[in-house]
């Protein structure tokens, strides 16, 4: 994976962003900043994820606060923001009576590609998402999975700096979902395009994203830097021995581990980067110590999400 440029502006900055629609407050004073390559928007249905994406695209006017996308101000440079974005909407969307290649080419030209370049890249984008053989078929005849893929192709065709994906795995069967997640992960790993992924599926967000914004009732319930958490928790281990063993404690300390004893026979270790659980098993084997349980402790996104949902956040 290519690291994000530290000198680049944050991908997304929200400063008290509020949105009201039809007399209802949908987003309430969102303030956060995200700089990593892949940002996840998590939340239950109706939390405001799609509204946030649409607001960033300029579809809904903010009623308060401001937002910046890739360093561009939403209020003053909406068109500039949209020039940098590839958007894959949640709902079924296509141009009537057109073939896939015609549709994707049109979208490329609308984003500013010259006609010939748009045609070439439309073919490439369709091959990339796995619709190469179906590119001359009318989009209206596509299955749900193919329609999702062609929506991804049209979002990619012009080479955006930020890809906004709204529930990209909606309606996909497991193999198609896997393929979609692989594609999005591949785009992220190429390092030239940031991703803003909205989903209510924890697994999708955890697989793809480095940072997560959890929304609840239109307010920020939690933000977390998954990448930093992964680094911090990579070597945090809980052990339960069959019997207390000072020799084992000394041995793992000699490996460079910080050891804390919770109670007799139960240890907490922080392992140095060069060590792995394999070394612990080897020491236990050498000393004849039985290990009843070994947990690599790490807050999963599910833990974080459930905590956020249980907490007294939001309340619009």
């Amino acid at each position: 994976m290519i690291a994000a440029n530290p000198h680049a502006p944050p991908v997304l900055e929200l400063d008290g962003l509020s949105v009201a629609l039809g007399g209802r407050q949908i987003l309430d004073r969102l303030t956060a900043s995200f700089s990593r390559r892949a940002i996840g928007l998590l939340g239950p249905n109706g939390a405001g994820k799609t509204t946030l994406l649409r607001t960033l695209l300029g579809f809904y006017p903010p009623t308060g606060g401001s937002a910046r996308v890739l360093g561009r101000d939403l209020a003053g440079d909406g068109r500039g923001i949209r020039a940098e974005i590839g958007y894959m909407p949640e709902s079924d969307a296509h141009i009537a009576n057109t073939t896939a290649v015609h549709f994707v080419r049109l979208m490329g030209e609308l984003s500013g590609l010259p006609s010939e370049a748009a045609l070439e890249r439309a073919h490439e984008a369709l091959f990339y998402v796995g619709l190469g053989e179906a590119r001359y078929r009318k989009v209206g005849t596509f299955s749900t999975g193919m329609k999702q893929m062609v929506k991804l192709a049209q979002a990619l065709v012009h080479g955006p700096s930020l890809l906004m994906l709204d529930e990209p795995t909606n309606g996909l069967d497991p193999p198609a979902r896997k393929r979609m997640i692989e594609l999005v992960s591949d785009i992220r790993d190429r390092g030239t395009c940031s991703i803003l992924l909205s989903s209510h599926l924890l697994g999708d967000v955890e697989t793809v994203c480095d940072e997560v914004l959890i929304l609840k009732n239109g307010a920020i319930a939690e933000t977390c830097d998954l990448e930093a958490d992964r680094r911090a928790n990579r070597s945090f281990v809980e052990l339960e021995l069959e019997a207390p063993s000072d020799a084992f404690v000394a041995a793992v300390s000699a490996l460079g581990c910080d050891v804390a004893s919770l109670e007799p026979g139960r240890l907490k270790l922080v392992m140095p980067a060069a060590r792995s659980t394999r070394d612990l098993w080897a020491e236990a084997d050498r000393l004849g110590v039985g290990i009843r349980r070994l947990d690599l402790k790490r807050d999963s996104l599910q833990d974080i999400f459930l905590r956020a949902m249980e907490g007294n956040h939001g309340g619009v």
Partner: protein
Amino acid sequence: MAVYERIWRRYQGGLTPLGRRWTVITRYALAEAFSSRIFTAFYVLCLLPTMVGLFLVYLSHNTGLLEQIGMTREFVGGLTELFFQLLFSWQAIPAFFIAVIVAPSLISADLANNALPLYLARPITRRDYVVGKIAVLALLLSPTTWIGGLAVFVLQSSLEGGGWWREHWRIAAAYLIGHLTWIVVISLLTLAISAWVRFKPAARGALFGIVFILAGFAEAVNGVTSSSIGDLVHLVRAIINVVLWIFGLPLRNDLPIAASWLTLAAACALSLWLLHRKLRAHEVVS
């Protein structure tokens, strides 16, 4: 087309100017319209009044040919202003049919397939979108109306000579202003209705309904009130009055010409408001 790359990569080349992006919408919509052979054949038929007009002008100045077919120049009638008025009507009516056929495909199909978010998530605005769609109708209707009318006028002027065009400049003005006004009115009206009625046959029916039911309503009001007040909603009479006014002929009612302009302006304003209300990436339900 051969595909050399099957990986995703960023685009490094130049971009087209932002101000010209709406032409992409126009170009694709025109291609879509002419992908139908039936429509293409109909469109050629709509050019027929202009062709006949050009032929009659040529014929009226070709004594030899007239003699061969046993006619005199008087038969053609010396191409009076009445000829040009009739030709105007025979151009304007097919133009309305072209708009009725094409317009519902322009916006209602995009709305039905939820395509608007795809357009508006790109660096184009709602105004670009409407301009792009109106340009389709303007490009389709212009050759069959004012361009054809002016071609007949230019041919007549060049064959007649002797400063004929100076004496009859009102004909050219009527073709230019009258047809352009008609194009703007029916384009906005047809687009507005197609934005609100997503089912194409229903949209076409609504377009006919609005024009002809309003005409009938206007006649009924005129009959009941023994005045011309009903003509304030009679679009066809309004455009006819505008053309007659430019020709320097008496109007079809006793209202001032400003009333006809007002009717047309109100139709345009209402259409723009309807488009403004409907053409959004996502509707917000209160």
